[in-house]
């Protein structure tokens, strides 16, 4: 699992933990953990989760434009719809299937792998572009 902290890059197989909500007084599974490769859908939240991995540089305009086009195409948005950096994925109507496809599309287009933890902090298209820029930089470093 590649993680970016400042300018250093570390690769580790870190288990990811998910704690499920106590819902309506019924407590379901409190926490689950599993190691190794990504097994959960990169989730794009409507509000940012606390992220320990801050992106260090903003995306180049060409990167942002490419991301916008991929997202617009993947979500089959109407011609007059504006997809810009500030657009939130949730508002674009991306459901769980769309989310997987958008991330896959971005991974293929840029030749990178997006890890679920990083993907969790993506709220807007700009966030996605910044993350991609970082991963692309890291790859060519």
């Amino acid at each position: 699992m590649a993680s970016v902290t400042g300018t250093a890059i570390s690769i580790s197989a870190r288990p990811s933990r998910r704690s499920l909500q106590v819902f309506n007084g019924l407590s379901v599974v409190k926490s689950v953990s599993f190691a190794g490769q990504r097994k959960s859908i990169p989730s794009i939240r409507s509000h940012p989760a606390t992220s320990r991995f801050r992106v260090s540089c903003a995306a180049k305009p060409e990167t942002l434009e490419k991301v916008c086009n991929i997202v617009k195409k993947q979500l089959a948005l109407p011609e007059n719809a504006t997809v810009a950096g500030h657009s939130k994925f949730a508002d674009l109507g991306a459901d769980s299937l769309d989310t997987v496809e958008v991330v896959m599309g971005l991974e293929e287009a840029f030749g990178i792998t997006v890890e679920e933890d990083s993907a969790q902090s993506i709220v807007t298209v700009q966030d996605a572009a910044d993350l991609i820029e970082d991963l692309v930089c890291a790859k060519s470093a």
Binding site: F23, L26, V28, K39, V100
Partner: protein, 260 residues
């Protein structure tokens, strides 16, 4: 006697409101819900979001008798809606779940069991082949499920098989309120031609969960997951062995007329 169980569906393609009509329906809801609905960019998403709220509020109103304007529905951090109003026995565990995809918005409620609902709209992928599309989701399918899909026959059949597995997995995840981060590959669905469906979680068959999968039309399938909450003894809950209740089709006009 009210048993708290509902299964409703609305075909949103049959509702084509004018701007004024849309505005009038949206005004039935609290401001934060209105904001959540209007945030969507595509009108079809706005429409589905509005009908989803309409189903939620109508159902709570009908089952629990709470006036529309007194209903408080919040969302968990993962985005699952739940009723904030405190409810007495026998409905203290009352919960519901909504789903929308394609032409349908649906809702399911249960008084005791956790319930999750998912609707899928089978769409032929536009930018890739069926197999390429399904391959995107291979991390979320187990080896057995993948094999069943691969042996389904034509690419249309493979696509349909994939969507059925996805629908069941989503219904389960939504029932437990886990959100998109749940490891879908941990779930393996066993079935006999899509009946007698059971789930194996981390390789162990779960006796607490029951599933149903039904066809709405050529392109739409719906699944329901219902499970005993951990506190409930398997013996005390006979609900799990009852046949699954079918869906009732409602219309937006009908739901609105029941508001007051």
């Amino acid at each position: 006697m009210e048993n708290g169980v509902r299964r409703w569906l609305v075909n949103v393609s049959q509702w084509n409101p004018s701007e004024a009509q849309f505005a009038s329906v949206i005004s039935l809801f609290p401001v934060d819900e209105q904001t959540a609905i209007t945030r969507y960019i595509k009108f079809e998403d706005k429409k589905r979001a509005l009908v989803s709220r309409l189903l939620q509020y109508s159902l709570v109103h009908e089952v629990l008798g709470i006036p529309f304007d007194k209903i408080i529905i919040h969302r968990t951090a993962e985005g699952k809606p739940y009723l904030k109003n405190s409810i007495d026995f026998p409905f203290s565990n009352f919960n519901f779940n909504v789903s929308h995809h394609g032409d349908y918005v649906g809702i399911a409620s249960e008084p005791l069991c956790l319930v999750g609902l998912d609707i899928v709209s089978i769409t032929t992928p536009k930018q890739e082949t069926e197999l390429e599309f399904i391959n995107n989701f291979s991390p979320y399918l187990t080896v057995l499920e993948w094999k069943n899909i691969a042996h389904a026959g034509s690419s249309e059949e493979m696509l349909a098989q994939f969507y059925r597995y996805w629908c069941l997995k989503e219904a389960f995840v939504k029932a437990i309120g886990a959100g998109l981060g749940y490891g879908l590959r941990r779930l393996e669905f066993h079935h006999t031609n899509w009946t007698g469906i059971s789930v194996y979680i981390d390789g162990v068959e779960s006796k607490k969960w029951r599933f149903s999968l039904s066809k709405l039309d050529e392109k739409h399938w719906v699944s329901i997951a219902s499970g005993l909450p951990n506190k409930a003894d398997e013996l005390c809950c006979s609900n799990l062995s009852l046949p699954e209740l079918g869906f009732t089709f409602r219309t937006v006009e009908e739901l609105i007329s029941n508001v007051n």
